[in-house]
């Protein structure tokens, strides 16, 4: 992401992370305001699905982010394992809760969307099922990390799990798709594919703005989370002590 090698030491990354978190936070809020305005007032009503389709503007970015964050997390985990840098492992674990949250939002909004569109809160659609499994993977990552007391072992073990997961994600995704087409006997027709092709230009723009809002939010939140992790893990070191006493003075 940034110049990792220059800032790979927690002491020099800490203040940088603080500035970046604020910057991304502000950008995210601004984009979110614009994006929400566009999704509710600017984007036209869908000729097929009426107003209900507007939930897509949060559902699709959340689904994208949930997958993207897992990949980024695995990259950080891999970097942490290869170069044995503490900071990348901390970044990986800071991303996990945000990723899980987006997965949950994607599932939740998917259910809300499904009720009017498909007539059921939950259908075993390939995308929904894969998203559910992704949630399991996030939960497993966080559960493993929190079950290990030693922070170093926790970082390394959960990093390895993230790598195992990212190798499996495509296999799981394609097997679920295969499974879904095999069992596609019922009357359910997946319509999400239909929307994207028939989307007007303004819808695409709204979607993009919302996606960047979510993305910047993820960056801001995980950076501020990594800041507190740094403070916690490095609490014994000199620079944290001077930082804390300096703040008080």
């Amino acid at each position: 992401m940034f110049n990792l090698f220059k800032y790979s030491s927690p002491a020099s990354f800490y203040p940088l992370a603080g500035r970046l978190a604020v910057g991304f936070g502000i950008a995210s809020v601004m984009l979110l305001v614009i994006g929400l305005y566009m999704s509710f007032f600017v984007a036209p009503t869908d000729y097929k699905q009426g107003e209900g389709y507007r939930i897509m503007f949060i559902h699709v970015p959340a689904a994208w982010m949930s997958m993207w964050i897992y990949v980024v997390m695995a990259c950080f985990a891999a970097a942490g394992m290869i170069w044995n840098t503490r900071l990348s492992s901390m970044m990986a674990s800071s991303l996990a809760p945000t990723g899980a949250m987006f997965t949950f939002i994607a599932l939740w909004t998917g259910a809300l969307w499904g009720k009017p569109m498909w007539g059921a809160w939950w259908v075993w659609d390939a995308r929904l099922t894969s998203e559910l499994i992704l949630l399991f993977l996030y939960v497993g990552f966080m559960a493993l990390e929190s079950a290990i007391d030693d922070p170093r072992r926790a970082a390394r073990a959960s990093g390895l799990l993230a790598l195992v997961g990212v190798v499996n994600v495509p296999i799981i995704y394609y097997s679920v798709q295969w499974w879904n087409t095999l069992h596609q006997g019922s009357s359910i027709k997946v319509v999400s594919g239909g929307i994207e092709t028939s989307m007007s230009e303004i819808m695409v723009w709204t979607l993009l703005v919302m996606t960047f809002a979510c993305w910047f939010y993820a960056v801001a939140v995980s950076l501020s989370r990594v800041r507190s992790t740094i403070l916690e893990r490095e609490s014994g070191t000199a620079w944290v002590k001077t930082l804390l006493t300096g703040d008080k003075a």
Partner: protein, 219 residues
């Protein structure tokens, strides 16, 4: 002689958020014994496990024959015998079966007779065919120690090897250690026992007295 086989350079180990030791450097040559001292929690066991390659050090390097142990395939492990707090024995197997498994895996051709001889040396002649679980603590320790005689490793790393042994067995083990050092072998051990050596070199390492400063090896 004279050439350091084992070199520790700037080693730092942490446990949890605690730094156990840092900037620890020493070297060890053939025919010497390193006695590691230190109060509880000073990182003696961690140091031994780090040298054996079971613990990944936070910083620093451990070199065997001039090459980092982590980068050697199995050459270092072939020269190494580590005995820790656990016996490392399967209690359902007999002493003989336990020793045989490790002998097979270490690639050494070891005859049935040699295994029995090693057990007999440690006073376990009558226990060869008994499952380890019926043996006493001291006897279990002796079965584990019998591996010292079988595997012909150069470097022995022994974490509290005298625990649970009776007086006779302590004498016996001291004799075995001295013979090994006398033959040019190397031993690193932790113990509260006084170890007097008449052959080879005796080195002492004190952990955890003053942080960082006193951790260089003392002769």
């Amino acid at each position: 002689m004279g050439k350091a086989l084992l070199e520790i350079k700037g080693l730092e180990c942490v446990r949890g958020d605690n730094q156990l030791f840092s900037e620890l450097s020493f070297s060890l040559e053939g025919g010497s014994l390193l006695h590691v001292h230190g109060p509880n929690g000073s990182g003696k066991t961690t140091l031994l496990r780090a040298i054996a390659g079971l613990v990944l050090p936070e910083n620093g390097e451990i070199c065997w024959n001039g090459e980092a142990t982590g980068r050697q395939e199995d050459d270092f492990n072939r020269e190494l015998l580590y005995l820790g707090h656990h016996y490392g024995l399967k209690f359902e197997l007999t002493g003989y079966e336990n020793l045989k498994v490790f002998a097979n895996l270490s690639g050494a051709e070891i005859s049935e007779h040699e295994v029995e001889a090693a057990l007999t040396r440690f006073g376990l002649a009558h226990c060869v065919e008994l499952p380890v679980k019926v043996l006493s603590q001291g006897q279990k320790r002796r079965v584990a120690l019998a591996r010292l005689l079988l595997q012909r490793s150069k470097l022995w790393i022994l974490d509290e090897p005298f625990v649970a042994l009776d007086v006779a067995a302590v004498e016996l083990l001291l004799g075995v250690i001295k013979a090994h050092v006398g033959d040019g072998g190397m031993v690193i051990l932790t113990t509260h026992q006084e170890v007097a050596m008449d052959a080879g070199k005796l080195q002492h390492l004190h952990l955890g007295e003053k942080p960082a400063a006193s951790m260089a090896a003392q002769r």
